[in-house]
Assembly symmetry: C2
Homo-oligomer: 307 residues x 2
Protein backbone atom coordinates (compact mmCIF):
# COMPACT_ATOMS: atom_id res chain seq x y z
CA UNK A 1 0.00 0.00 0.00
CA UNK A 2 1.54 3.23 -1.21
CA UNK A 3 0.33 6.79 -1.60
CA UNK A 4 1.72 8.30 -4.77
CA UNK A 5 1.32 12.02 -5.38
CA UNK A 6 0.37 13.02 -8.93
CA UNK A 7 -0.47 16.63 -8.09
CA UNK A 8 0.18 18.57 -4.89
CA UNK A 9 -0.59 22.20 -5.75
CA UNK A 10 -3.55 24.44 -5.00
CA UNK A 11 -5.96 26.25 -7.31
CA UNK A 12 -3.91 26.52 -10.49
CA UNK A 13 -1.20 24.30 -11.96
CA UNK A 14 2.40 25.37 -11.43
CA UNK A 15 5.51 23.98 -13.07
CA UNK A 16 6.53 21.92 -10.03
CA UNK A 17 3.14 21.19 -8.49
CA UNK A 18 0.22 20.15 -10.61
CA UNK A 19 -3.35 20.48 -9.37
CA UNK A 20 -4.54 17.74 -7.04
CA UNK A 21 -4.47 14.00 -7.59
CA UNK A 22 -3.30 11.21 -5.32
CA UNK A 23 -2.98 7.55 -6.31
CA UNK A 24 -3.44 4.98 -3.56
CA UNK A 25 -1.58 1.97 -4.91
CA UNK A 26 -3.15 -1.28 -3.74
CA UNK A 27 -1.25 -3.45 -6.17
CA UNK A 28 -0.17 -6.13 -3.72
CA UNK A 29 -3.51 -6.00 -1.91
CA UNK A 30 -5.87 -6.19 -4.92
CA UNK A 31 -3.91 -5.51 -8.11
CA UNK A 32 -5.60 -2.14 -8.31
CA UNK A 33 -5.04 1.58 -7.88
CA UNK A 34 -7.51 4.06 -6.43
CA UNK A 35 -7.35 7.70 -7.44
CA UNK A 36 -8.30 10.52 -5.09
CA UNK A 37 -9.19 13.62 -7.10
CA UNK A 38 -8.30 14.14 -10.72
CA UNK A 39 -7.19 17.68 -11.49
CA UNK A 40 -6.45 18.71 -15.07
CA UNK A 41 -3.47 16.87 -16.59
CA UNK A 42 -3.57 14.01 -14.12
CA UNK A 43 -3.34 11.71 -17.13
CA UNK A 44 -0.30 13.67 -18.28
CA UNK A 45 1.37 13.17 -14.90
CA UNK A 46 0.58 9.45 -15.11
CA UNK A 47 2.49 9.32 -18.41
CA UNK A 48 5.65 9.95 -16.40
CA UNK A 49 5.03 7.12 -13.92
CA UNK A 50 4.69 3.34 -13.98
CA UNK A 51 0.95 3.62 -13.27
CA UNK A 52 -1.23 1.89 -15.84
CA UNK A 53 -4.58 3.66 -16.30
CA UNK A 54 -6.33 0.31 -16.79
CA UNK A 55 -5.29 -0.61 -13.24
CA UNK A 56 -7.27 2.30 -11.84
CA UNK A 57 -10.43 0.75 -10.43
CA UNK A 58 -11.96 3.59 -8.41
CA UNK A 59 -11.81 7.36 -8.40
CA UNK A 60 -12.87 9.30 -5.32
CA UNK A 61 -13.53 13.00 -5.91
CA UNK A 62 -13.38 15.06 -2.71
CA UNK A 63 -15.16 18.12 -4.10
CA UNK A 64 -16.10 19.65 -7.41
CA UNK A 65 -13.64 22.56 -7.60
CA UNK A 66 -11.97 22.52 -10.99
CA UNK A 67 -8.48 21.89 -9.63
CA UNK A 68 -9.70 18.55 -8.26
CA UNK A 69 -12.00 17.57 -11.12
CA UNK A 70 -11.18 18.88 -14.58
CA UNK A 71 -8.84 16.01 -15.47
CA UNK A 72 -11.55 13.39 -15.03
CA UNK A 73 -13.20 13.36 -18.51
CA UNK A 74 -9.78 13.18 -20.19
CA UNK A 75 -8.58 10.42 -17.88
CA UNK A 76 -11.75 8.35 -18.39
CA UNK A 77 -11.59 8.78 -22.19
CA UNK A 78 -7.91 7.96 -22.51
CA UNK A 79 -8.25 4.89 -20.28
CA UNK A 80 -10.72 3.55 -22.84
CA UNK A 81 -8.63 4.60 -25.84
CA UNK A 82 -5.62 2.84 -24.29
CA UNK A 83 -7.48 -0.44 -24.01
CA UNK A 84 -8.92 -0.35 -20.47
CA UNK A 85 -11.88 -2.74 -20.35
CA UNK A 86 -12.38 -3.40 -16.62
CA UNK A 87 -15.09 -1.41 -14.80
CA UNK A 88 -14.46 1.92 -13.07
CA UNK A 89 -16.50 3.44 -10.27
CA UNK A 90 -16.30 7.17 -9.57
CA UNK A 91 -17.50 8.50 -6.21
CA UNK A 92 -18.09 12.14 -5.41
CA UNK A 93 -20.51 14.89 -4.43
CA UNK A 94 -23.84 15.53 -6.10
CA UNK A 95 -23.36 17.15 -9.49
CA UNK A 96 -20.58 14.78 -10.50
CA UNK A 97 -22.90 12.69 -12.67
CA UNK A 98 -24.10 15.66 -14.73
CA UNK A 99 -20.56 16.88 -15.21
CA UNK A 100 -19.18 13.53 -16.37
CA UNK A 101 -22.18 12.74 -18.52
CA UNK A 102 -22.20 16.03 -20.39
CA UNK A 103 -18.43 15.95 -20.88
CA UNK A 104 -18.55 12.47 -22.39
CA UNK A 105 -21.78 13.01 -24.34
CA UNK A 106 -20.82 16.30 -25.93
CA UNK A 107 -17.52 14.86 -27.13
CA UNK A 108 -19.30 11.68 -28.29
CA UNK A 109 -16.97 9.56 -26.19
CA UNK A 110 -18.04 5.93 -25.88
CA UNK A 111 -16.14 4.12 -23.17
CA UNK A 112 -15.16 0.50 -23.76
CA UNK A 113 -15.63 -0.29 -20.07
CA UNK A 114 -18.56 -0.03 -17.66
CA UNK A 115 -18.52 3.28 -15.78
CA UNK A 116 -20.49 3.67 -12.58
CA UNK A 117 -20.91 7.09 -11.00
CA UNK A 118 -21.93 7.22 -7.34
CA UNK A 119 -23.04 10.54 -5.88
CA UNK A 120 -22.26 10.03 -2.23
CA UNK A 121 -23.54 11.17 1.13
CA UNK A 122 -21.84 10.80 4.48
CA UNK A 123 -21.28 7.26 5.74
CA UNK A 124 -19.78 4.00 4.47
CA UNK A 125 -19.71 4.44 0.71
CA UNK A 126 -17.89 1.23 -0.17
CA UNK A 127 -17.27 -2.11 1.46
CA UNK A 128 -15.99 -5.45 0.29
CA UNK A 129 -14.05 -8.25 2.00
CA UNK A 130 -10.85 -6.20 1.94
CA UNK A 131 -11.72 -2.56 2.53
CA UNK A 132 -14.28 -0.10 3.78
CA UNK A 133 -14.34 3.53 2.73
CA UNK A 134 -16.11 6.07 4.88
CA UNK A 135 -16.90 9.64 3.79
CA UNK A 136 -17.56 12.69 5.92
CA UNK A 137 -18.21 16.30 5.02
CA UNK A 138 -15.44 18.72 5.91
CA UNK A 139 -15.60 22.52 6.07
CA UNK A 140 -15.03 24.13 2.67
CA UNK A 141 -16.74 26.69 0.43
CA UNK A 142 -18.60 23.89 -1.33
CA UNK A 143 -19.36 20.34 -0.13
CA UNK A 144 -15.96 18.72 0.34
CA UNK A 145 -15.51 15.16 1.57
CA UNK A 146 -12.76 13.41 3.44
CA UNK A 147 -12.28 9.68 2.90
CA UNK A 148 -11.20 7.11 5.47
CA UNK A 149 -9.94 3.95 3.83
CA UNK A 150 -9.86 1.04 6.28
CA UNK A 151 -8.21 -2.21 5.36
CA UNK A 152 -9.80 -5.20 7.09
CA UNK A 153 -7.62 -7.29 9.35
CA UNK A 154 -5.92 -10.22 7.68
CA UNK A 155 -5.70 -13.66 9.30
CA UNK A 156 -2.39 -14.21 11.07
CA UNK A 157 0.46 -16.32 9.72
CA UNK A 158 0.01 -20.10 9.69
CA UNK A 159 2.58 -21.88 11.90
CA UNK A 160 3.30 -24.63 9.37
CA UNK A 161 6.38 -25.91 11.24
CA UNK A 162 4.32 -26.43 14.38
CA UNK A 163 1.60 -28.31 12.45
CA UNK A 164 4.19 -30.62 10.85
CA UNK A 165 5.88 -31.17 14.24
CA UNK A 166 2.47 -32.23 15.57
CA UNK A 167 2.24 -34.80 12.80
CA UNK A 168 -0.19 -33.01 10.49
CA UNK A 169 0.77 -33.40 6.85
CA UNK A 170 0.79 -30.37 4.53
CA UNK A 171 -2.14 -30.21 2.09
CA UNK A 172 -5.44 -28.40 1.49
CA UNK A 173 -6.09 -28.77 5.20
CA UNK A 174 -3.47 -26.09 5.95
CA UNK A 175 -5.49 -23.50 4.07
CA UNK A 176 -8.64 -24.39 6.03
CA UNK A 177 -6.80 -24.08 9.33
CA UNK A 178 -5.38 -20.70 8.27
CA UNK A 179 -8.91 -19.56 7.44
CA UNK A 180 -9.84 -20.30 11.07
CA UNK A 181 -11.71 -23.58 10.51
CA UNK A 182 -11.74 -26.20 13.29
CA UNK A 183 -10.78 -29.15 11.08
CA UNK A 184 -11.56 -32.71 12.20
CA UNK A 185 -8.88 -35.25 11.23
CA UNK A 186 -9.58 -38.83 10.08
CA UNK A 187 -8.76 -40.06 13.59
CA UNK A 188 -11.35 -37.76 15.11
CA UNK A 189 -8.91 -35.18 16.48
CA UNK A 190 -10.22 -31.64 16.20
CA UNK A 191 -7.57 -29.06 15.34
CA UNK A 192 -7.99 -25.76 17.15
CA UNK A 193 -6.91 -23.17 14.57
CA UNK A 194 -6.07 -20.66 17.31
CA UNK A 195 -3.10 -22.84 18.31
CA UNK A 196 -1.60 -22.78 14.81
CA UNK A 197 -2.41 -19.30 13.52
CA UNK A 198 -0.66 -16.16 14.75
CA UNK A 199 -2.57 -13.04 15.74
CA UNK A 200 -4.54 -11.13 13.06
CA UNK A 201 -2.49 -8.75 10.96
CA UNK A 202 -4.00 -5.35 11.66
CA UNK A 203 -5.40 -3.67 8.59
CA UNK A 204 -4.09 -0.22 7.74
CA UNK A 205 -5.98 3.05 7.72
CA UNK A 206 -5.37 5.88 5.28
CA UNK A 207 -7.30 9.13 5.55
CA UNK A 208 -7.33 11.45 2.54
CA UNK A 209 -9.09 14.77 2.96
CA UNK A 210 -10.46 17.27 0.48
CA UNK A 211 -9.91 20.99 0.92
CA UNK A 212 -10.96 22.08 4.39
CA UNK A 213 -10.62 24.39 7.31
CA UNK A 214 -9.42 22.69 10.48
CA UNK A 215 -12.50 20.81 11.71
CA UNK A 216 -13.79 18.04 13.94
CA UNK A 217 -14.85 15.84 11.00
CA UNK A 218 -11.22 15.68 9.88
CA UNK A 219 -10.15 14.56 13.35
CA UNK A 220 -12.84 11.90 13.40
CA UNK A 221 -11.94 10.57 9.96
CA UNK A 222 -8.27 10.44 10.87
CA UNK A 223 -8.54 8.57 14.22
CA UNK A 224 -5.53 6.26 14.55
CA UNK A 225 -4.77 6.45 10.83
CA UNK A 226 -1.49 5.02 9.63
CA UNK A 227 -1.33 7.91 7.18
CA UNK A 228 -3.25 11.17 7.15
CA UNK A 229 -3.07 13.27 3.99
CA UNK A 230 -4.21 16.77 4.96
CA UNK A 231 -4.23 19.94 2.93
CA UNK A 232 -1.91 22.75 4.03
CA UNK A 233 -2.58 25.52 1.56
CA UNK A 234 -1.00 28.15 3.79
CA UNK A 235 1.95 28.56 6.13
CA UNK A 236 1.72 28.76 9.89
CA UNK A 237 0.59 32.23 10.95
CA UNK A 238 -1.84 32.59 8.04
CA UNK A 239 -4.75 31.15 10.03
CA UNK A 240 -7.00 34.13 9.30
CA UNK A 241 -6.51 33.83 5.58
CA UNK A 242 -6.94 30.05 5.80
CA UNK A 243 -10.23 30.56 7.59
CA UNK A 244 -11.43 33.12 5.08
CA UNK A 245 -10.67 30.91 2.09
CA UNK A 246 -11.81 27.66 3.74
CA UNK A 247 -8.33 26.17 3.88
CA UNK A 248 -5.81 25.07 6.51
CA UNK A 249 -2.31 25.98 7.57
CA UNK A 250 0.61 23.64 8.20
CA UNK A 251 0.13 23.99 11.96
CA UNK A 252 -3.57 23.27 11.77
CA UNK A 253 -2.91 20.07 9.80
CA UNK A 254 -0.44 19.04 12.51
CA UNK A 255 -3.02 19.78 15.17
CA UNK A 256 -5.50 17.44 13.48
CA UNK A 257 -2.79 14.75 13.25
CA UNK A 258 -2.07 15.18 16.94
CA UNK A 259 -5.66 15.08 18.09
CA UNK A 260 -6.44 12.08 15.88
CA UNK A 261 -3.32 10.28 17.10
CA UNK A 262 -2.22 9.29 13.61
CA UNK A 263 1.01 7.55 12.74
CA UNK A 264 2.16 9.79 9.93
CA UNK A 265 1.04 13.11 8.43
CA UNK A 266 1.54 14.24 4.87
CA UNK A 267 0.91 17.86 3.87
CA UNK A 268 -0.37 18.58 0.37
CA UNK A 269 -2.33 21.22 -1.66
CA UNK A 270 0.52 23.70 -1.19
CA UNK A 271 -0.13 27.19 -2.52
CA UNK A 272 2.07 28.30 -5.42
CA UNK A 273 2.94 31.40 -3.37
CA UNK A 274 5.54 29.23 -1.62
CA UNK A 275 8.78 28.78 -3.56
CA UNK A 276 10.58 25.42 -3.43
CA UNK A 277 13.15 26.94 -1.08
CA UNK A 278 10.34 27.53 1.43
CA UNK A 279 8.95 23.98 1.35
CA UNK A 280 11.26 22.63 4.10
CA UNK A 281 10.07 25.46 6.36
CA UNK A 282 6.44 24.45 5.81
CA UNK A 283 7.34 20.90 6.79
CA UNK A 284 9.18 22.10 9.90
CA UNK A 285 6.24 24.23 11.00
CA UNK A 286 4.11 21.09 11.20
CA UNK A 287 6.93 18.98 12.68
CA UNK A 288 7.16 21.31 15.67
CA UNK A 289 3.72 20.11 16.69
CA UNK A 290 3.69 16.69 15.04
CA UNK A 291 7.17 15.32 14.28
CA UNK A 292 6.21 12.52 11.87
CA UNK A 293 5.24 14.97 9.11
CA UNK A 294 6.38 15.06 5.49
CA UNK A 295 5.44 17.56 2.82
CA UNK A 296 4.18 16.04 -0.43
CA UNK A 297 5.79 16.71 -3.79
CA UNK A 298 4.66 15.66 -7.25
CA UNK A 299 5.86 12.09 -7.93
CA UNK A 300 6.68 11.40 -4.27
CA UNK A 301 5.61 8.03 -2.88
CA UNK A 302 4.89 7.15 0.73
CA UNK A 303 4.72 3.52 1.75
CA UNK A 304 2.09 2.65 4.34
CA UNK A 305 3.65 -0.17 6.36
CA UNK A 306 1.83 -2.59 8.61
CA UNK A 307 2.43 -1.74 12.25
Amino acid sequence: MKAFFLGTGAGVPAKLRNVTSIALKLLEERGAIWLFDCGEATQHQILHTSIKPRRIEKVFITHLHGDHLYGLPGFLSSRSFQGGTSPVTVYGPKGLKDYINISLTISQTYLKYPLKIVEIEEGIIFEDDQFTVEAKLLEHGIPSYGYRVVEKNLPGTLMADKLIADGIKPGPIFKRIKAGEAVTLDDGTVIDPARYVGPDQKGRIVTILGDTRICQAAINLAQQADLLIHEATFASGEEEMAYEYFHSTTTQAAEVANQADVHQLCLTHISSRYEPSHWPTLEEEACTLFPRTVIAEDFKEIEVLRR
Copy 2:
Protein backbone atom coordinates in the same frame (compact mmCIF):
# COMPACT_ATOMS: atom_id res chain seq x y z
CA MET B 1 1.62 37.29 -36.79
CA LYS B 2 2.88 33.95 -35.60
CA ALA B 3 1.38 30.49 -35.22
CA PHE B 4 2.63 28.87 -32.03
CA PHE B 5 1.92 25.19 -31.44
CA LEU B 6 0.88 24.28 -27.90
CA GLY B 7 -0.25 20.76 -28.74
CA THR B 8 0.26 18.76 -31.93
CA GLY B 9 -0.81 15.21 -31.07
CA ALA B 10 -3.94 13.21 -31.84
CA GLY B 11 -6.48 11.60 -29.54
CA VAL B 12 -4.48 11.15 -26.36
CA PRO B 13 -1.60 13.15 -24.88
CA ALA B 14 1.90 11.80 -25.38
CA LYS B 15 5.11 12.93 -23.73
CA LEU B 16 6.29 14.91 -26.75
CA ARG B 17 2.99 15.91 -28.32
CA ASN B 18 0.14 17.19 -26.21
CA VAL B 19 -3.43 17.14 -27.48
CA THR B 20 -4.41 19.97 -29.81
CA SER B 21 -4.03 23.67 -29.27
CA ILE B 22 -2.62 26.38 -31.52
CA ALA B 23 -2.01 30.00 -30.52
CA LEU B 24 -2.24 32.60 -33.26
CA LYS B 25 -0.15 35.45 -31.91
CA LEU B 26 -1.46 38.81 -33.07
CA LEU B 27 0.60 40.82 -30.63
CA GLU B 28 1.90 43.41 -33.09
CA GLU B 29 -1.42 43.54 -34.91
CA ARG B 30 -3.77 43.90 -31.91
CA GLY B 31 -1.89 43.08 -28.72
CA ALA B 32 -3.84 39.85 -28.53
CA ILE B 33 -3.59 36.11 -28.97
CA TRP B 34 -6.24 33.84 -30.43
CA LEU B 35 -6.38 30.20 -29.42
CA PHE B 36 -7.54 27.47 -31.78
CA ASP B 37 -8.70 24.43 -29.78
CA CYS B 38 -7.86 23.85 -26.16
CA GLY B 39 -7.06 20.23 -25.37
CA GLU B 40 -6.41 19.15 -21.80
CA ALA B 41 -3.30 20.74 -20.25
CA THR B 42 -3.15 23.59 -22.73
CA GLN B 43 -2.76 25.88 -19.70
CA HIS B 44 0.11 23.67 -18.54
CA GLN B 45 1.82 24.04 -21.92
CA ILE B 46 1.33 27.81 -21.70
CA LEU B 47 3.25 27.79 -18.38
CA HIS B 48 6.36 26.90 -20.39
CA THR B 49 5.96 29.78 -22.87
CA SER B 50 5.92 33.58 -22.82
CA ILE B 51 2.18 33.59 -23.55
CA LYS B 52 0.14 35.49 -20.99
CA PRO B 53 -3.36 33.99 -20.56
CA ARG B 54 -4.84 37.48 -20.06
CA ARG B 55 -3.70 38.32 -23.62
CA ILE B 56 -5.91 35.58 -25.02
CA GLU B 57 -8.92 37.36 -26.45
CA LYS B 58 -10.66 34.67 -28.47
CA VAL B 59 -10.81 30.89 -28.49
CA PHE B 60 -12.00 29.05 -31.57
CA ILE B 61 -12.97 25.41 -31.01
CA THR B 62 -12.96 23.35 -34.20
CA HIS B 63 -14.99 20.43 -32.82
CA LEU B 64 -16.06 18.98 -29.51
CA HIS B 65 -13.86 15.90 -29.32
CA GLY B 66 -12.20 15.81 -25.90
CA ASP B 67 -8.66 16.13 -27.25
CA HIS B 68 -9.60 19.56 -28.62
CA LEU B 69 -11.83 20.72 -25.77
CA TYR B 70 -11.12 19.35 -22.31
CA GLY B 71 -8.58 22.04 -21.41
CA LEU B 72 -11.08 24.85 -21.86
CA PRO B 73 -12.73 25.02 -18.38
CA GLY B 74 -9.33 24.94 -16.68
CA PHE B 75 -7.91 27.58 -18.99
CA LEU B 76 -10.89 29.90 -18.51
CA SER B 77 -10.78 29.47 -14.70
CA SER B 78 -7.05 29.99 -14.35
CA ARG B 79 -7.12 33.07 -16.59
CA SER B 80 -9.49 34.60 -14.04
CA PHE B 81 -7.49 33.39 -11.04
CA GLN B 82 -4.36 34.88 -12.57
CA GLY B 83 -5.96 38.31 -12.87
CA GLY B 84 -7.37 38.35 -16.40
CA THR B 85 -10.13 40.96 -16.53
CA SER B 86 -10.56 41.67 -20.27
CA PRO B 87 -13.41 39.90 -22.11
CA VAL B 88 -13.04 36.53 -23.83
CA THR B 89 -15.19 35.18 -26.65
CA VAL B 90 -15.27 31.45 -27.34
CA TYR B 91 -16.55 30.22 -30.72
CA GLY B 92 -17.44 26.64 -31.54
CA PRO B 93 -20.07 24.10 -32.52
CA LYS B 94 -23.46 23.73 -30.88
CA GLY B 95 -23.12 22.07 -27.49
CA LEU B 96 -20.17 24.22 -26.45
CA LYS B 97 -22.33 26.50 -24.30
CA ASP B 98 -23.77 23.64 -22.23
CA TYR B 99 -20.34 22.12 -21.73
CA ILE B 100 -18.70 25.35 -20.56
CA ASN B 101 -21.65 26.40 -18.43
CA ILE B 102 -21.97 23.12 -16.57
CA SER B 103 -18.20 22.86 -16.06
CA LEU B 104 -18.02 26.34 -14.53
CA THR B 105 -21.30 26.08 -12.60
CA ILE B 106 -20.62 22.71 -11.02
CA SER B 107 -17.22 23.88 -9.79
CA GLN B 108 -18.73 27.19 -8.64
CA THR B 109 -16.24 29.12 -10.72
CA TYR B 110 -16.99 32.81 -11.04
CA LEU B 111 -14.94 34.48 -13.76
CA LYS B 112 -13.68 38.00 -13.14
CA TYR B 113 -14.06 38.84 -16.84
CA PRO B 114 -17.00 38.80 -19.26
CA LEU B 115 -17.21 35.50 -21.14
CA LYS B 116 -19.19 35.28 -24.36
CA ILE B 117 -19.89 31.90 -25.95
CA VAL B 118 -20.87 31.86 -29.61
CA GLU B 119 -22.25 28.64 -31.09
CA ILE B 120 -21.40 29.09 -34.72
CA GLU B 121 -22.74 28.07 -38.08
CA GLU B 122 -21.01 28.29 -41.44
CA GLY B 123 -20.15 31.77 -42.69
CA ILE B 124 -18.40 34.89 -41.40
CA ILE B 125 -18.39 34.45 -37.64
CA PHE B 126 -16.31 37.50 -36.75
CA GLU B 127 -15.42 40.78 -38.38
CA ASP B 128 -13.88 44.01 -37.19
CA ASP B 129 -11.72 46.66 -38.89
CA GLN B 130 -8.68 44.35 -38.82
CA PHE B 131 -9.84 40.80 -39.40
CA THR B 132 -12.59 38.54 -40.66
CA VAL B 133 -12.95 34.92 -39.62
CA GLU B 134 -14.91 32.54 -41.78
CA ALA B 135 -16.00 29.05 -40.71
CA LYS B 136 -16.88 26.05 -42.85
CA LEU B 137 -17.82 22.50 -41.95
CA LEU B 138 -15.24 19.87 -42.82
CA GLU B 139 -15.71 16.10 -42.99
CA HIS B 140 -15.31 14.45 -39.60
CA GLY B 141 -17.22 12.03 -37.36
CA ILE B 142 -18.86 14.98 -35.61
CA PRO B 143 -19.33 18.58 -36.81
CA SER B 144 -15.80 19.91 -37.27
CA TYR B 145 -15.07 23.42 -38.48
CA GLY B 146 -12.17 24.95 -40.34
CA TYR B 147 -11.39 28.63 -39.79
CA ARG B 148 -10.09 31.10 -42.37
CA VAL B 149 -8.59 34.16 -40.70
CA VAL B 150 -8.25 37.05 -43.15
CA GLU B 151 -6.35 40.17 -42.21
CA LYS B 152 -7.68 43.28 -43.94
CA ASN B 153 -5.33 45.20 -46.17
CA LEU B 154 -3.42 47.98 -44.46
CA PRO B 155 -2.94 51.44 -46.06
CA GLY B 156 0.42 51.80 -47.80
CA THR B 157 3.42 53.68 -46.41
CA LEU B 158 3.24 57.50 -46.36
CA MET B 159 5.99 59.09 -48.51
CA ALA B 160 6.89 61.76 -45.95
CA ASP B 161 10.08 62.82 -47.79
CA LYS B 162 8.10 63.52 -50.95
CA LEU B 163 5.52 65.57 -49.03
CA ILE B 164 8.27 67.67 -47.41
CA ALA B 165 10.03 68.10 -50.75
CA ASP B 166 6.72 69.42 -52.12
CA GLY B 167 6.65 72.04 -49.35
CA ILE B 168 4.08 70.41 -47.08
CA LYS B 169 5.06 70.71 -43.43
CA PRO B 170 4.81 67.65 -41.13
CA GLY B 171 1.85 67.73 -38.73
CA PRO B 172 -1.58 66.19 -38.17
CA ILE B 173 -2.17 66.65 -41.89
CA PHE B 174 0.23 63.75 -42.64
CA LYS B 175 -2.01 61.34 -40.77
CA ARG B 176 -5.05 62.49 -42.75
CA ILE B 177 -3.22 62.02 -46.05
CA LYS B 178 -2.09 58.56 -45.00
CA ALA B 179 -5.71 57.68 -44.22
CA GLY B 180 -6.55 58.53 -47.83
CA GLU B 181 -8.14 61.94 -47.31
CA ALA B 182 -7.92 64.60 -50.06
CA VAL B 183 -6.74 67.45 -47.82
CA THR B 184 -7.23 71.07 -48.91
CA LEU B 185 -4.36 73.38 -47.91
CA ASP B 186 -4.80 77.02 -46.76
CA ASP B 187 -3.82 78.19 -50.27
CA GLY B 188 -6.58 76.10 -51.80
CA THR B 189 -4.33 73.34 -53.15
CA VAL B 190 -5.93 69.91 -52.89
CA ILE B 191 -3.52 67.10 -52.02
CA ASP B 192 -4.18 63.87 -53.88
CA PRO B 193 -3.35 61.18 -51.29
CA ALA B 194 -2.68 58.59 -54.02
CA ARG B 195 0.48 60.54 -54.97
CA TYR B 196 1.92 60.30 -51.47
CA VAL B 197 0.82 56.89 -50.22
CA GLY B 198 2.32 53.62 -51.45
CA PRO B 199 0.20 50.63 -52.47
CA ASP B 200 -1.92 48.86 -49.85
CA GLN B 201 -0.11 46.27 -47.73
CA LYS B 202 -1.86 43.03 -48.49
CA GLY B 203 -3.41 41.39 -45.42
CA ARG B 204 -2.40 37.85 -44.58
CA ILE B 205 -4.54 34.74 -44.57
CA VAL B 206 -4.18 31.87 -42.13
CA THR B 207 -6.37 28.78 -42.39
CA ILE B 208 -6.61 26.47 -39.41
CA LEU B 209 -8.62 23.31 -39.83
CA GLY B 210 -10.21 20.93 -37.37
CA ASP B 211 -9.95 17.16 -37.81
CA THR B 212 -11.07 16.17 -41.29
CA ARG B 213 -10.90 13.84 -44.21
CA ILE B 214 -9.54 15.44 -47.36
CA CYS B 215 -12.45 17.56 -48.60
CA GLN B 216 -13.50 20.43 -50.83
CA ALA B 217 -14.40 22.70 -47.91
CA ALA B 218 -10.77 22.56 -46.77
CA ILE B 219 -9.60 23.60 -50.23
CA ASN B 220 -12.08 26.47 -50.30
CA LEU B 221 -11.08 27.72 -46.85
CA ALA B 222 -7.40 27.55 -47.73
CA GLN B 223 -7.50 29.43 -51.07
CA GLN B 224 -4.30 31.50 -51.40
CA ALA B 225 -3.60 31.26 -47.67
CA ASP B 226 -0.22 32.41 -46.44
CA LEU B 227 -0.30 29.52 -44.01
CA LEU B 228 -2.49 26.42 -43.98
CA ILE B 229 -2.50 24.30 -40.84
CA HIS B 230 -3.91 20.91 -41.82
CA GLU B 231 -4.19 17.74 -39.78
CA ALA B 232 -2.10 14.76 -40.86
CA THR B 233 -3.01 12.06 -38.41
CA PHE B 234 -1.64 9.31 -40.63
CA ALA B 235 1.28 8.67 -42.95
CA SER B 236 1.05 8.49 -46.71
CA GLY B 237 -0.34 5.13 -47.77
CA GLU B 238 -2.81 4.96 -44.88
CA GLU B 239 -5.57 6.63 -46.89
CA GLU B 240 -8.06 3.84 -46.18
CA MET B 241 -7.58 4.11 -42.45
CA ALA B 242 -7.69 7.90 -42.66
CA TYR B 243 -11.01 7.67 -44.49
CA GLU B 244 -12.43 5.19 -41.99
CA TYR B 245 -11.50 7.34 -38.98
CA PHE B 246 -12.37 10.67 -40.66
CA HIS B 247 -8.78 11.88 -40.75
CA SER B 248 -6.16 12.77 -43.37
CA THR B 249 -2.74 11.57 -44.41
CA THR B 250 0.36 13.69 -45.02
CA THR B 251 -0.12 13.37 -48.78
CA GLN B 252 -3.75 14.39 -48.62
CA ALA B 253 -2.84 17.52 -46.65
CA ALA B 254 -0.28 18.35 -49.34
CA GLU B 255 -2.90 17.82 -52.01
CA VAL B 256 -5.18 20.35 -50.34
CA ALA B 257 -2.28 22.81 -50.08
CA ASN B 258 -1.57 22.33 -53.76
CA GLN B 259 -5.12 22.72 -54.94
CA ALA B 260 -5.68 25.77 -52.73
CA ASP B 261 -2.42 27.32 -53.95
CA VAL B 262 -1.27 28.21 -50.43
CA HIS B 263 2.10 29.68 -49.56
CA GLN B 264 3.04 27.35 -46.74
CA LEU B 265 1.64 24.15 -45.26
CA CYS B 266 2.03 22.96 -41.70
CA LEU B 267 1.09 19.41 -40.68
CA THR B 268 -0.24 18.79 -37.21
CA HIS B 269 -2.42 16.31 -35.21
CA ILE B 270 0.21 13.61 -35.63
CA SER B 271 -0.72 10.18 -34.30
CA SER B 272 1.36 8.91 -31.39
CA ARG B 273 1.98 5.75 -33.43
CA TYR B 274 4.76 7.69 -35.16
CA GLU B 275 8.03 7.87 -33.22
CA PRO B 276 10.08 11.09 -33.33
CA SER B 277 12.53 9.36 -35.68
CA HIS B 278 9.69 9.00 -38.19
CA TRP B 279 8.60 12.64 -38.13
CA PRO B 280 11.02 13.82 -40.87
CA THR B 281 9.63 11.09 -43.13
CA LEU B 282 6.10 12.39 -42.61
CA GLU B 283 7.29 15.85 -43.58
CA GLU B 284 9.04 14.51 -46.66
CA GLU B 285 5.94 12.64 -47.80
CA ALA B 286 4.08 15.94 -48.00
CA CYS B 287 7.07 17.81 -49.46
CA THR B 288 7.12 15.48 -52.46
CA LEU B 289 3.80 16.95 -53.50
CA PHE B 290 4.03 20.35 -51.84
CA PRO B 291 7.61 21.43 -51.07
CA ARG B 292 6.86 24.29 -48.65
CA THR B 293 5.68 21.94 -45.90
CA VAL B 294 6.79 21.76 -42.27
CA ILE B 295 5.64 19.34 -39.60
CA ALA B 296 4.47 20.96 -36.36
CA GLU B 297 6.00 20.16 -33.00
CA ASP B 298 4.95 21.29 -29.54
CA PHE B 299 6.44 24.76 -28.85
CA LYS B 300 7.32 25.37 -32.51
CA GLU B 301 6.54 28.82 -33.89
CA ILE B 302 5.92 29.76 -37.52
CA GLU B 303 6.05 33.39 -38.53
CA VAL B 304 3.52 34.48 -41.15
CA LEU B 305 5.30 37.16 -43.15
CA ARG B 306 3.69 39.74 -45.43
CA ARG B 307 4.23 38.88 -49.06
